[in-house]
Symmetry: C2
Subunit: 443 residues, 2 copies
């Protein structure tokens, strides 16, 4: 290349330094590192047993079914040209129809007009927030809640309030009297991340009553719904609302589903089920965001779910039931008194509470160094006022052996600290700075 | 399901009607139907020759290479488990390295730290807008510009200004003196959508001078850059800027690349190449948006581009050079006097100007009904003050035969209208309402 600049241009330019944050929009201040993602970089070291991820067991992926599906699609010239071409934003129509059937089987009568295919449930949350959450609006969340949802809402400069599930909530909420708009409530009603808990029937009713009183859209994140392996499944909040209002077209619940936990996350496929008017608007939002989700993945997913959805779901449930059992048994055996945990009936997580004065953020570097065990400190999952004595343990990814030896090592460390200072002050004298690149994004 | 509601609840709920726009954030008012996308629904009728899409020729997709790549990945159990699992947000490292090598070959010395893999160049634009464009900020664009970029910036409630490429632009621009923040300039420097034009050397320098004077980030959308099939390629704006400032780390240019036009759009793969500090921040934005782009597609794309990128690019260039030639020849033969068009050296589009008083939006229904030909009316591509006598013709998707017979039919219709009223008033007495669902989103 032979483009010459004048001397003045060149010398002024060489001295250029860019202060990028000056160029960013205000919302950039709310786009920050996620503790859980930073962790994923650190824990991938030999010898560490990780309970930190939110990752399915890859041994369960229906690899051969995906391989056969893609081979069949790309082996048919006509299908191949469609699969690799641009496509419509709302998603592959036969897959939308399959999902609508699935939603019907779960108590939500609907058609493909009520379904938008998304790049995982994560994109579903982003699109919904884009449509509903203005800067400074309040979103009601549980405490704790899904870290990735907070990351979405943060980027839209949302404020947070607590969902009142007592059934006694009045409207307007305090936020509205303070001049803030109440945009939505976000909830995982089944096998929640991070606690593994399911809402009770009364809590579901309370949520819907709140929605009705405040004209409040409900974002029901059902990413783990299909992973209930024990106890009686309750209807989704959306299907309960439809029992009351008669139609998905009159429901304020926006249901976010996912194939990531039952089938495989690597195809990035989820969906939103909602009133068709909202789906049309969300489709327009998705157009700007990525035009559409890749068709080849959607076609392959349809082929696979048609063949083996029920069987695959049972397989995953069975495996996670076993692993959950192993983790609860190990916790029972190895955790000292003063430590408690949830006993999930599904999902991928157990939520651990250390004695009140303990600090899980400070515990982590010692867990990594001394016990060679990783977890996610609880504060990452709170929009405000984090309980610092909590932490999240994942049981879907580690093997049965890793679960019992990892919990044994973690239990021993907690017991040791607990016994040493005698006051349940776990890890308070440990500096977080031990771990490079690790920052607490909340609290 | 046996959940009973009290009578009061049930009757009040049954009467519920939801006014959804009341629940939407303010930005929702700017999330509107795209003319081009609505068209894609309409033109898919038998007998219509469509010059409306922005779609590659699917006959050129390297189907067998993708098929072999996916089969190889999913046939290897260890690779399969990685390919279908969650992954890191910044993208598949070996593909990032390949892209960094490619960028180096195009005059941008960089490493994988400067590359973020995105769901097509469209997501690249969305992520950049999310980071840089606050509500009410001004983005400088050309007239006309890429419709999909306007759709992105609209959703962030941007205002628009015109890029001054004369080299005489002062800073602050008028927008800044009016109290508006100048967020970025957006440009397609090579084989632009919709005009097919490339910026001259002087225009590239003028843009970079403007960037320097106003500390203005430049969004260089290079989606069609690899499709130049004629004339000498100029260096990208990014590489010219690096000649001046010495390093991608000191450049204000954010380069957006895509595999959609050379390889296949169905895998939704593009990238951003920029200063590593910006890439890190964009990566955080992408985390919230969709966690990451599916790994199996990235792994397959790497396999395919390693095998045949250069060959495939030549194949696509050759095919589009032929089709461009066929379209220019047909326009020359069949268009009446008073109609002019661009003669692109690459890309997928010819930009047609009808006589001043003509209206392409009004022409479209007659073109569909009488000539059985579709195009995109020019006003869709203007942020403001649309030239209503312009329209976009695509030559990549239709066959050689369709190009000549379609242009012949369109030319005949234009000539007929032109001759009939004798004043070049094309289509002014035609109602847009002819086409169901068709709305002009701009102007």
């Amino acid at each position: 290349m032979s483009f010459a600049y004048g001397d003045a241009e060149a010398s002024s330019a060489l001295a250029r330094t860019i202060d990028w944050p000056l160029s960013y929009a205000r919302r950039a201040g709310r786009i920050r590192a996620s503790e859980i993602r930073e962790l994923l970089r650190i824990v991938d070291r030999p010898g560490i047993i990780s309970f930190a991820g939110g990752i399915p067991d890859p041994e369960l992926f229906p690899v051969d079914a995906f391989r056969a599906a893609v081979d069949g699609i790309l082996g048919n010239p006509k299908q191949a040209r469609v699969a690799l071409q641009y496509s419509v934003t709302e998603g592959y129509e036969p897959l939308r129809v399959w999902i609508a059937d699935y939603m019907r089987s779960r108590g939500t009568p609907c058609s493909s007009d009520n379904i938008l295919i998304t790049a995982g449930a994560q994109q579903a949350l982003d699109l919904i927030a884009k449509l509903f959450a203005g800067a400074g609006d309040t979103i009601l969340v549980t405490a704790p809640t899904y870290l990735g949802a907070l990351q979405v809402f943060d980027a839209y400069e949302a404020n947070y309030g607590a969902i009142d599930l007592s059934g006694r909530a009045d409207c307007p909420y305090a936020f509205e009297t303070a001049g803030e708009r109440l945009a939505a409530a976000y909830i995982m009603a089944d096998c929640a991340n991070p606690t593994g808990r399911c809402l009770t029937k009364d809590e579901r009713f309370a949520l819907l009553t709140l929605s009705e009183r405040c004209s409040l859209p409900i974002i029901e994140d059902a990413a783990y719904e299909a992973l209930r392996f024990e106890g009686d499944a309750l209807p989704s909040c959306q299907s309960l609302d439809i029992l009351r209002c008669g139609s998905v077209e009159r429901s304020r619940v926006l249901y976010c589903g996912s194939f990531s936990k039952t089938m495989a996350p690597g195809l990035r496929l989820g969906w939103i089920c909602a009133a068709s008017e909202v789906i049309r608007k969300l489709t327009l939002a998705k157009q700007g965001v990525d035009l559409h989700t890749g068709l080849i993945g959607q076609m392959a997913m349809l082929d696979v779910v048609e063949r083996l959805f029920d069987r695959q779901r049972e397989r995953v449930r069975d495996a996670y039931r076993c692993k959950r059992g192993a983790m609860l048994a190990a916790l029972q055996e190895f955790m000292p008194a003063g430590v408690s945990w949830t006993e999930p009936e599904g999902g991928m997580f157990v939520w651990l509470s250390l004695p009140e004065a303990a600090d899980s953020v400070a515990l982590l570097p010692r867990a990594l160094d001394e016990a060679k065990v990783a977890f996610v400190p609880g504060p990452a999952f709170y929009a405000a006022e984090p309980k610092r004595n909590t932490l999240r343990l994942n049981y879907s990814k580690p093997s049965m052996d890793e679960i019992s030896s990892g919990i044994k090592r973690l239990g021993r460390l907690i017991r040791e600290i607990h016994t040493k200072d005698g006051r349940g002050q776990i890890g308070v004298n440990v500096q977080l700075g031990h771990i490079a690149g690790m920052t607490s994004s909340r609290g």
